[in-house]
Every structure is written in C-alpha cells, then in structure tokens.
C-alpha cells in the first residue's frame, strides 16, 4: 500500500540508490592501494529512474515479462588522477562522495518519515 504513494516510493528508491552507491564507494576506498583498480560509481539517479523498471505489458500468462534495464547500472567513474600503478582512487574524492551520499540518504529517510507522519495525521492519529 505504501509503495503506491509517490513520495514514499521515490524516497525509498533514493535510499536504495544511495545504499548501493555507498557500497561502491566503500569498495573503491578498500581498493585505494590495489594496482590497476579503477573506481566505480552508479549512473546518476535521474538516469536510473528514466531507464529502470519499465515492464512490458502482458495480456497473457504465456507472454514474457520483458524488462528494460533492471537493477542499478554502474559505470567506471572519472577520477581526479591515476597513480603510476594504474590505480585511480583518490581517497579525498571518495570521502566527498561519501558525505554527499550520506546527506542525500538522510534527506530521503527524513522525507519518508515525514510522509508517514502526514499519513498518520490524515488518519487522525497525529
């Protein structure tokens, strides 16, 4: 029921996106000294929203449920510089990303909370 509400759906999608992004950034940081490692990142959120989760309509059980995209697409991130051993991770850059991720995740979770509070108020139990 809650997933039918656009605000809550968007907020939870944003939280999921930021969680996946955090996983990638953490991988990058863990591999900060691995020779030949190139940092990865998710494609921007708006791009993901545009391409993901477009199911084909089916009118029979025997139709295939095609899906455009599906899952979150990642990409090789551009980095400030590449070390002589082929490693492209700059810790400061990753830290910056991590701060942004945490900020956006917090915002999305607050929006979710407020959305639920609003619902509760409309039920008369505010």
């Amino acid at each position: 029921m809650l997933s039918k509400i656009a605000v809550l759906r968007q907020a939870s999608a944003q939280m999921e996106y930021q969680s996946h992004r955090q996983a990638l950034v953490t991988e990058n940081i863990a591999n900060a000294d691995t020779p030949g490692f190139r940092p990865r990142d998710l494609k921007p959120f708006d791009e993901q929203v545009r391409t993901a989760r477009i199911d084909l309509a089916v009118s029979s059980d025997r139709h295939l449920k095609g899906r455009a995209g599906g899952g979150l697409a990642d990409m090789q991130a551009k980095s400030y510089e590449v070390a002589p051993n082929g490693n492209g991770v700059v810790i400061e850059e990753q830290m910056l990303k991590m701060a942004a991720i945490q900020g956006t995740h917090q915002m999305a979770s607050q929006i979710y909370r407020k959305g639920v509070e609003l619902l509760r108020a409309s039920f008369g139990r505010g």
Binding site: M15, E16, Q18, S19, H20, Q22, A23, L24, V25, T26, E27, I29, A30, N31, A32, D33, T34, P35, F37, I91, Q94, M95, M98, I101, Q102, H105, Q106, S109, Y112, R113, V116
Partner: protein
C-alpha cells in the same frame, strides 16, 4: 539493506588488508639492521605487499585481499666493518635493503587508507541506523 551490508564487509576487508600491510612494514623496520651471521651471508630482504581485487561470490561485494607478500629484489647496502661476523673477504658487510624513509612513507599511507575504510564503515553504519530509525514511531 544488502547493499549496506556489503559496503560494511568491503570496508572491513580494506581495514584487514591495510593492517596486514602495517604488519609487514613493521617487520621491515624491526629488521632494518638484521645482517647475516656467517661471512658474506645475505641479510634481511625487505618484504613488499601487493593487493588484489576480489569479489565475494556469496554477496557480490567487492573486497580487497593481500595477493602476495613478495621480496624486494633491490641491491643490499654495503658497509665497511671488517670485524663483523658477516663481513666478506674485503671487509664489507651486506646490510638489509630497508630504507626507513620509504617505510615511514608507506606506514603513513597504510594508516591513511585504514582511516578511510574505518570512516566508510562508520558512514555505512549510520545509514543503516537512519533506515532502521524509520521503524521508530
């Protein structure tokens, strides 16, 4: 939730790899003066650490591992000390190829990377906390 969990295990593997590196660097520093004990014998050879990328098949998390602890093939330093038990016929003793300056630099880098992984772990945990807080009233 799964993503956060795999983030935490990536961070943990990063910390582990850096602590192994720290151990090896400390071994190098501790053995910076370890010479052989018979005439012309080789002294301690500096160890090096190489990291490699690894994917956890179960969770899909990208981890880091210590791929190899190798030996630095560079030349030993020679020092004139004819009375040393490891001195060769000409009176020179082979000293380990450990440079304290390089080890210190490596040490700082290991510490910095460890701190970064620790910070990443903390951030992931806070995000998990923020999600779980939604369950609170």
């Amino acid at each position: 939730m799964d993503a956060i969990k795999s983030a935490m295990s990536s961070a943990a593997s990063g910390m582990h790899a850096q602590s192994v590196r720290l151990r090896v660097i400390t071994e190098n520093i501790a053995n910076a003066e370890s010479t052989g004990s018979t005439p012309g014998a080789d002294p301690y050879r500096r160890k090096t650490v190489t990291f490699g990328e690894l994917v956890d098949r179960e969770t899909g998390a990208g981890l880091v591992e210590v791929k190899r602890i190798g030996r630095d093939p560079s030349d030993f330093k020679l020092e004139y000390d004819p009375n040393h038990p490891a001195a060769n016929d000409a009176g020179y003793v082979k000293k380990p190829n450990v440079s304290s300056l390089i080890e210190m630099g490596d040490l700082r880098e290991a510490q910095r990377s460890y701190d970064a992984s620790l910070k990443a772990f903390e951030t992931s945990r806070n995000m998990l906390g923020a999600t779980l807080d939604l369950l609170k009233r």
